[in-house]
Amino acid sequence: MFGPEQGHFALALACVLALIQFVVPLWGAHKRNARLVAMAPFLAVSQLLALAISFFSLVMCAVHDDFSVQNVAANSAASKPLLYKITGVWGNHEGSVLLWTLILGVCGAAVSAFGRNLPDILRGRVLAILGGVSAGFQLFCLLTSDPFDRVFPAPMDGQGMNPLLQDPGLAFHPPILYTGYVGFAVPFAFAVAALLEGRVDAAWGRWVRPWAVAAWCFLTCGIALGSWWSYYVLGWGGYWFWDPVENASLIPWLTGTALVHSAIVVEKREGLKIWTVLLAIATFSFSLSGTFLVRSGILNSVHAFANDPARGVFILALLALVIGGSLALFAWRAPSLTSGGLFSPVSREGSLVLNNILLCSICAVVVTGTMYPPFMQLLAGRTISVGKPFFDAATIPLTIPLLLAMGIGTALPWKRAQLARTFSHLFVAAIIAAIGLMLCFWKFSGALPIACGALAIWVMAASVTDILRRVGLGHSSMSDMLARARNLPRSSWGAALAHIGAGITVLGLCGMSGAQHAIVEIHVGETRSLAGDDWTLLNVHDYAGPNYRAMQADIAIRHNGKLITTLHPEKRDFTTQNQTTTEVAIHTNFITDLYGVVGDRHGTGADATYVLRLHRNPLAPWMWLGGLVMAIGGAFSLSDRRLRVGAPKRAAARNMVQA
């Protein structure tokens, strides 16, 4: 039932369905034929079904160790644990493209299911655009990277998976990150549909924002998870390498964050319409380019385990078609969109505009830093690279005003703000930030970490005091306050949470700038001290795992003679692939991470010495915790009644149809 041929057929079927989904509703919308337009949801759901069968078939091939399938033979092995047989399906190029199209199929079906209140024509057009993108990627999958290719003769065992990827963190990282990338296809489709329609209004903003927020949540989680993975798997003690692959996920996150904010202005004030449409197009374009950067060999990168330039040409053509086509449509139709309400520079709208400009400036810097080296290579033939020093020097000075504005923005009213009143609202937050500055002077070293740390506290304090002011702290009774808190829109709580999350992440980054480490070579029983803690190597022993051999060290950490913890870092040797990996041991109390790595053994017997790397990483867990809080804030805002996809105002929808 679920063999490779069935999977291949289902993929081809999905591709045909996607093509029909692209053509028929667009034609129907053009001819005002309601029946053709109404086919779109049905097509989207059937396409998802076909894709699900196809993907499930590939999973079954991997689970049943069908090594006659090239993709399974190259990336799996009989001895691999079941979890990694399943997750290994998307740990390689072909499988990850299939996963990508599957998620796009899920997005299409979700628009069909949750978008019942959308005007039929708009929904038909949105689904058609999603179908078109879907068809492009499925063709790419079928023509250049078929996951169901057979190999003859079938090998007895597979080549196994890169052991670095055999990790629960990485197993679930791609699906979450891809959901974020692909999720921005929905705002993109809404933007293109609005351009085709020649109309953007508050209702459009209300419809598009939940999709953008949902995609943003997944992308935030995906980036945080990826960063966490490189922290605890690669064993370098770092969390972000400004590697092109990482930047490829950060760039759409920056524009996506701008989009989530500018869509608020469209929804509330009918302003920034053209800009929001452009951001929606840009965010998805960057997501697509992100895949392109990862999947083709154009950018040299430490992550490049699946590069193949031949596929690049197809993807490049697909990118040119999608990005070029949508930008051309934008240039043609955008001038017909009218701009909305007036506002003064010092107002909520003004602060959101500032947020957008700053986010896009940071994005431009990151794009430049990522793209400059390959272009220099291409044009001048000089091999150069830019790394952390460049990005730190160029992005942090732009982040400082962004953080400053984040605190002020939420306190400003729409349309026009009175400065004196705003300042009185922010007075408490400013005092807390001033106390925070003293704390930062005490805890952090260096001007930038101190400034950023104080600003992070400022952002968090401003968010909390804003919520407290709105529930009426100080001039209402307790029950009154609770009632007000209940009535406060969930999106306000969500925004406050997301801003607090951003503050937590920034504090974590500031803390990590003071990380300390030592590399030592010691005998068993010896002790070394690092930043007040004594690290003792107690014992080292060897053992055999399911598909590897390991050397495990026991390291006791004492502070003033009191035992804090015993770490068990490992070095694993995977015989199938002739590869070794490092298993980091981390002890965390959520304030400081103690991070131990065991390296090589030199000498034998009692005289053997071991190389150890010891790290003390202050506030490290906060970086990812903040990402999680941001995503929770986004999810909370999604649950807002007014934003709920199924409950836009009927009246608005009716107006749209009549217009």
Binding site: N162, G297, N300, V302, H303, A304, F305, S339, L342, F343, S344, P345, G350, V353, L354, I357, L358, C360, S361, I362, A364, V365, T368, G369, Y372, R382, T383, I384, S385, V386, G387, P389, F390, F391, A393, A394, P397, L398, R416, A518, I519, V520, E521, I522, R528, K571, Q577, N578, Q579, T580, T581, T582, V597, G599, D600, H602, T609, V611, R613
Partner: protein
């Protein structure tokens, strides 16, 4: 506040942000760009001692040795491009994929004595992957043509260099 003045404000804010972003980018570029160099280039034109470069090539077979200095392990190995070799010193744990006779990229500075102090060593990610810069450099110097098969291992390059020197 009219539409015109609002637009003016937005344009001013945009210009201010974009020009400061451009200024920051240029300033950061001028001091933080890292050039890639092959060992023969380092020998021919040694960069300034404070300039960080990326040195790439093959680890010469049999050249890796370790000493312990103040309780910290120091690895020394020679990196070659078939024409010249540079001795690299690196304090720390070499990456899991580091092997003699395979390609490597080291980030660091060239010392006055011609040695190279690395702050970071990157080894290739799997058996088939060679850092692009290293492959390019090999092709440029004519030591390897991908049309004629796999890259030679570093041991055979040593003999190539020796032959050239001897003959």
């Amino acid at each position: 506040m009219t539409r015109k003045t609002r637009r003016l404000w937005i344009v001013i804010a945009c210009l201010a942000c974009i020009s400061s972003a451009a200024a920051l980018t240029l300033r950061a570029f001028s001091s933080n760009i890292v050039f890639f160099m092959a060992p023969s280039q380092v020998k021919a034109h040694p960069p300034a001692p404070d300039r960080t470069i990326r040195l790439g090539g093959m680890v010469m077979a049999g050249s890796l040795h370790r000493i312990t200095e103040n309780g910290a392990p120091v690895n020394s190995f020679n990196v070659t491009d078939g024409q010249a070799a540079v001795e690299v010193h690196y304090t720390g744990i070499l990456p899991d994929l580091f092997r003699e006779g395979q390609s490597v990229v080291a980030l660091g500075t060239v010392q006055k004595d011609g040695g190279f102090t690395a702050s970071e060593v990157l080894a290739k990610h799997d058996e088939t992957y060679m850092p692009k810069e290293v492959a390019e450099e090999l092709k440029r110097t004519g030591k390897w043509d991908p049309r004629f098969g796999k890259a030679p291992d570093a041991a055979s390059w040593d003999t190539m260099t020796a032959k050239k020197a001897g003959g």
